[in-house]
């Protein structure tokens, strides 16, 4: 196929490019400084080939900038799934795939020798028996074929489970797959089932849809696997920024849960970090690789998991504060007129680990007991124009809140002629 191929061998380097084109959309060629064995030009060309109509470019003073532009709330299929469908393979891989499955389509059991012989007799394809065995073993692990072992002989037959078979028994299943194929995590797997049967989602849309999370699913599988086995995990992390990235570093941690923010789009691995003796949050999109260390099962896993369950009601988002710090109460009093009861409804549904109490006729107090009270500030600011007081936390923190407010007022001072300082 020549030097350039639209298919790739590994997912991780391409994943960074897709993410940058989608999240930032304002970087020019020179700003893609991330380490990669492939050139920017090839990666850009590939992403353009996969994402077609969603890939845009424009010329700016700094150079040509490319972006993936999607209104994620109004699409029936996540276009970033395409990146998963671009795995490269050899000629042998594809020939063996279709010819072996054709031989196994009779539903009977076959040995490797039989299949190797039939490949030659029926399709005039000569393969080494070893290659056929390895492919069949691989497909047994993937679940495409079933393996039975009798004495020293191995028998292979096609797996009988198909979507059409299940959908015949469970008529609602296909629509369920359509729906869940757009829900993260692992919507890509549902999409792969639909695509294999030439089906598409047409009627389901996802609001507040962070389609970019799909790019993290490849590492998420390994993290969940480590959690399932209660073993240590080696993560390789980098800190992504718009202007490039820092050095990668590898760390050992004990994975305990995955925290997802439905409002900011970020997902975190919450893990126990032995180096610092505390819980730590790793952003999933900053994890380049995650590998379970199966030999290092943690005997105290359940103890750490129980400690985390105790700590989580004091975590507004992902910050556990500094080691040894205790939760600080933060009390926000809000004025909510009776005619604006929808604001009270919002307060109650969004207050997370907080408690809401009516303290006056049209006055409500939300109390949050947090390791890091500053984490709640962005949410508190969504109630701008209703905040009567902010108590608790440190004086420095309360001053920061007031300073931010006055800085905001200055941004809009043309509109607000009253002097508020």
């Amino acid at each position: 196929m020549g030097a350039y191929s639209e298919l790739v061998k590994t997912f991780s380097c391409t994943r960074d490019y897709v993410r940058d084109f989608f999240i930032y959309g304002c970087k020019v060629r020179e700003e893609f400084s991330r380490k990669s064995t492939r050139s920017y030009d090839n990666e850009r060309r590939r992403v353009e080939s996969w994402l077609g109509k969603y890939f845009r470019n424009e010329t700016t003073k700094r150079g040509r900038q490319f972006r993936v532009s999607v209104d994620s709330g109004h699409i029936a299929e996540n276009p970033l799934y395409q990146a998963y469908y671009a795995k490269s393979f050899t000629d042998n891989d594809i020939q063996l795939h279709f010819l072996l499955l054709d031989l196994l389509a009779d539903g009977q059991e076959h040995t490797v020798s039989e299949l190797t012989e039939h490949l030659y007799k029926e399709y005039n394809k000569l393969f080494e028996e070893r290659s056929v065995r390895l492919k069949l073993r691989e497909y047994a692990l993937e679940g495409l074929v079933c393996l039975r072992h009798q004495g020293r002989s191995y028998y292979f037959r096609l797996s009988p489970d198909t979507l059409s078979g299940l959908a015949g028994q469970f008529p609602g299943l296909t629509d369920a797959i359509r729906f869940f194929s757009e829900i993260q995590p692992f919507g890509i797997i549902g999409n792969s089932i639909l695509r294999s049967e030439r089906l598409r989602n047409k009627h389901f849309l996802m609001k507040h849809n962070y389609i970019v999370r799909t790019l993290e699913d490849e590492v998420l599988v390994n993290i969940l696997d480590a959690m399932h086995k209660k073993c240590w995990l080696r993560v390789t992390v980098f800190r992504s920024t718009i202007s490039g990235s820092d050095e990668e570093r590898a760390q050992m941690c004990l994975p305990l849960c995955i925290n997802t923010s439905s409002q900011t789009g970020r997902r975190y691995l919450i893990a126990y970090q032995p180096e610092f003796g505390q819980f730590k949050a790793y952003r999933l999109d900053y994890i380049k690789a995650a590998d379970a260390v199966p030999d290092e099962k943690c005997p105290d896993y359940d103890t750490y998991a129980a400690q985390l369950r105790e700590a989580l009601p004091h975590v507004f988002s992902v910050s556990f504060g500094k080691a040894g710090e205790h939760p600080e109460p933060l009390r926000v009093t809000l004025h909510i007129p009776r005619k604006e009861s929808y604001v009270l409804t919002r307060l109650q549904r969004e207050c997370r680990c907080g408690t809401v109490e009516q303290v006056g006729k049209e006055t409500y107090c939300v109390t949050l007991d947090l390791y890091d009270p500053q984490e709640a500030f962005p949410w508190i600011r969504t109630f701008t124009c209703r905040i009567l007081s902010l108590e608790g936390g440190t004086e420095e923190l309360r001053q920061l809140f007031r300073d931010d407010l006055y800085a905001m007022a200055q941004l809009y001072e043309e509109e607000n002629h009253d002097d508020i300082s």
Binding site: I189, N259, T260, T382
Partner: protein, 329 residues
């Protein structure tokens, strides 16, 4: 076991589809690749599928040998059967995981879920509910396990698929009861609100009146009318009519640029960046019904974000900040 495997890939999928056809012209193959492949697949794939029209015996064939050339110039698969496509273990694990999701009750009855669970016996779910948690999902999510809610969902989905007009009795946001005739065309789920809404075209008499969005949990009753809607509904056109834009400037303090671009990644947007100051200016497009939600989310960025335009949107932010300053004076 990995998602990034060629068996799920576009090339394998295209070949699988083509192998289902007993006879194909070269143009059928290239057209199919054009429609189903990546943008540039047509440059790479046809020569791997199409056997050469003439070939000398000593020449190594370039194609994969999955098709043979017929005397009349068409091609046929060398395989005997339609390519089978069994579910992989990864796909079954995903199905097994989803069976534990309360939203599965919208599609399968409790009995069906139990039967499917039994069929997937021995298949490990990819994760259990306690492994994944939302930090900020709203607490008043829809009642997915309520039988009436499930029935309403199924009826509306069937109506959307068949374009059937439904008679809907509905509690409005102010708790007033409304009766509407409507044909649903899209069903929307919000992860943040944990709610399902249904996009409908409403009718007044026999005329289309407007597009409305109904919260599924607020539907009191539904009745089929048996009448099919024959007109055309173009959801993308409808959504673009509902669209408004806002332009903001974000400064890099406290990682606000990164946070903003991630949080607002779900919107169609144009971003400009000043390389020296690292300040970004972003114009993004949102649904006009979400204006208040957008405004408060922008205010959450504090002084790191300024709304530049449109003036009336900027004025709303300014007014809220002015009132807040009064309260904390």
């Amino acid at each position: 076991m990995t998602i990034f495997h060629e068996i799920y890939g576009v090339y394998f999928r295209i070949v699988r589809e083509l192998l289902r056809h007993k006879r194909l012209k070269d143009s059928d193959v290239t057209n199919f690749i054009w429609n189903e492949g990546f943008q540039e697949s047509v440059m790479f794939l046809p020569q791997k599928i199409l056997p050469p029209k003439q070939q000398s015996p000593e020449e190594e064939p370039a194609d994969w040998g999955l098709f043979r050339r017929n005397a009349n110039g068409t091609i046929s698969p060398v395989t005997k059967y339609d390519p089978p496509c069994p579910l992989t273990i990864l796909q079954k694990r995903w199905l097994r995981t989803r069976l534990d999701d309360p939203r599965m009750g919208l599609f399968l009855s409790g009995e069906e879920r139990e039967q499917l669970r039994a069929q997937l016996d021995g298949i490990e779910p990819l994760y259990t509910p306690e492994m994944l948690r939302f930090t900020d999902q709203c607490k008043d999510g829809d009642p997915y396990e309520d039988p009436q809610y499930q029935q309403h969902f199924r009826d509306l989905l069937t109506a959307a698929q068949n374009r059937e007009i439904m008679s809907v009795t509905y509690y409005s946001g102010k708790n007033n009861v409304r009766n509407v005739a409507a044909v649903p065309f899209c069903i929307e789920y919000s992860e943040k609100d944990d709610k399902i809404r249904v996009f409908c075209v409403e009718f007044k008499g026999h005329k289309e009146n407007r597009v409305s969005v109904l919260n599924l949990a607020r539907i009191r009753s539904l009745e089929r009318t048996g009448k099919k809607y024959r007109g055309s509904i173009r959801p993308q056109q409808i959504f673009s009519h509902e669209c408004k834009s806002v332009t903001v400037r974000v400064t890099p303090e406290r990682n606000a640029v990164e946070r903003f671009l991630m949080e607002f990644a779900s919107y169609r947007k144009d971003t400009q960046r000043d390389a020296e100051t690292e300040v970004i200016t972003v114009k993004f497009y949102y649904n006009r019904n979400d204006e208040t939600e957008i405004l408060i989310r922008l205010l959450s960025y504090g002084p790191m974000l300024e709304i530049l335009s449109p003036p009336e949107f900027r004025a709303q932010a300014a007014e809220r900040i002015r009132r807040q300053c009064e309260l904390l004076k």
